[in-house]
Symmetry: C2
Subunit: 330 residues, 2 copies
DNA sequence: TAATCAAGGCCGACATCAGTT
DNA sequence: AAACTGATGTCGGCCTTGATT
């Protein structure tokens, strides 16, 4: 900056003003611009951050594999941040054991704080991380993508409960009475909400829930495992906690000669791009994960700006009926 | 740090030594540890970065949607960085037009430099970005995930050419003579390499290439578009530039009554997790994108450490034969 | 008076060097 | 001499204050 000042024949201080926006004369401005261009000068954000005690950077913590949902959320977070002139430091953790989870998450958040991020978005929160986030929320604004009753941490999340409700009701309306639920990982918040939606829909129709089949991961492999073992005569409808699990389940059943919608109906959640190109195209509940990510950033920036607690935002879920569901034939 | 020093009854300087590793007495160390714990003190990386002129941070630039490949690369980059105590600033750009591309990329890289990152990984490089990267490579180490003949920029990439060669040869060995190629976006490096592999395999077998069908994106929709229009009698084998495109193509053909491997054979590239759970499971060429990301980081760190140009690393591709390919029946 | 610019201090660490046991 | 500790200056910006036109 001193170099630029020398070349433009002004003080370094005036060059600083040139960047931050203050009184700089027309002519002086032009000379500085020329000098900046000639020297290829670029502000040193590190020095600036130190002085202004602000980094215009947010930390984004993601857990588990970068699957469709996480990728879309990241896209939304990135877009929202860039649109507001913020940068994003991303950390993705593969969490193997529950013990790892806490210390790894802790370490990742500490690193963010050490970087003096202006705020943190915690994607994919696991059950039992409330205390950790609570603590961090005391130091810097935090938005989490799940329900979190706390004044220190804001939240937004997709409407998993209604998604489960809607998906199950759809099957019930088609006439299904024995409806199976393929549930997501037990340590994930969304799993519980989707399952609760299923249970409530079943209950309100006066039906009985079948034993829930739990998937260790949100992936096709987990669904295929169940599809290979399940008794196909025990159900006519299937509500899968997400599309991937549904794909695996259907694939395994197809290998046993059972296909949708002829032998059973199946509905998923997410509406992955691929769901449209499956045979049959999958009925599912669409979630706008990009919007979710953008919303998280928007709320975070607002919290940073005003310091006020943000009302929780719930991103709606929308049923998309395709060809994997129909009336039961048995 | 001064606060910690006060509580531990030592100078701030000694606290600094405590963290950076230097002579600190046994007893003093214990007092500092206690003080740090009590105050919940955490180093200010921004100040540290300014002083040591190093940030232990790398920038990762990604272009286009965060699809399977990008997500895996990001996973690898993140893991490699975390394993070496580095942080990652991620920027993902949706590039709509070619003009946007250059200025957006430029802006994103400038931002990295302004942050004083220690190095940059440019994922998904587009054709024609060489000059920009070259320029940036003069200021800070850069690794790009494509071929780049330059002393300023190191590179690593998956073996797209051999993947194309292998996939096409596989079809030829099965007896196919009219082999169609569904090519990826024309502005992407990998597309060209995969297509060249196809052409060379066709040529070495003394066959004639069919007109290449170009996809505007790496997605199923693009493949489906071609699948809906193509003349099914014009080919017996299909080499698709990636799995997603293959899925869309097969889906559209299935709607017209043509299925693999009965009516035609199809092979993709990537080996997405889903490819195993398709009907039929897709024959494909596996690429280890996580390894690619880890390799990029490893090379970058080595370049940062030594300042020496790194030899380009090519990640091998491996044919995975499943049930979408077989001998031609016509 | 308003617009414009310069000088000095400070953000929070670490390197250096001097000083003590 | 070796182990340890403290004082000072510096990284590169921005803020405050005060001066000048």
């Amino acid at each position: 900056m001193a170099d630029v000042g020398r070349l433009a024949e002004v003080s370094a201080q005036t060059v600083s003003r040139f960047f931050t926006g203050g009184y700089v004369g027309q002519e002086t401005r032009a000379r500085i611009e020329a000098a900046v261009a000639e020297l290829g000068y670029r502000q040193n954000q590190v020095a600036r951050n130190l002085r202004v005690q602000r980094t215009d950077t947010v930390g984004f913590l993601m857990m588990g594999p970068i699957n469709y949902g996480n990728a879309e959320i990241l896209t939304g977070v990135g877009r929202g941040a860039r649109g507001s002139g913020m940068s994003v430091i991303t950390t993705q953790l593969d969490l193997d054991t529950e013990e790892d989870a806490h210390s790894d998450v802790r370490a990742a958040l500490d690193r963010f704080l050490s970087f003096q991020v202006d705020g943190i978005v915690v994607g994919t929160p696991y059950l039992g991380l409330g205390a950790v986030m609570e603590h961090v929320g005391g130091e810097v604004p935090v938005v989490t993508l799940s329900e979190q009753e706390s004044s220190a941490v804001d939240f937004t999340h997709a409407d998993s409960y209604n998604a489960g409700l809607t998906a199950t009701r759809h099957l019930i309306e088609l006439g299904h009475r024995r409806i199976l639920h393929l549930a997501g990982p037990s340590d994930r918040n969304e799993s519980g909400q989707r399952e609760q939606g299923y249970r409530d829909a079943i209950a309100e129709a006066g039906l009985s829930p079948l034993d829930v089949l739990r998937c260790p991961e949100w992936d096709a492999r987990s669904g295929a495992g169940h599809g290979a073992r399940v008794d196909p005569s025990s159900f006519t409808g299937v509500f899968s906690a997400n599309d991937e699990i549904a794909f695996g389940f259907s694939h395994a059943l197809a290998a046993r000669g059972f296909t949708a919608p002829r032998d059973y109906s199946i509905v998923g959640i997410d509406d992955m791009p691929d769901s449209l190109f499956r045979t049959p195209p999958l009925t599912t509940v669409r979630m706008d994960f990009q919007l979710l990510g953008e919303t998280a950033i928007r709320m975070l920036l607002e919290r940073i700006r005003t310091g006020e607690r943000q009302p929780g935002v719930i991103i709606p879920a929308e049923l998309v009926v395709r060809e994997s569901t129909g009336e039961p034939r048995r």
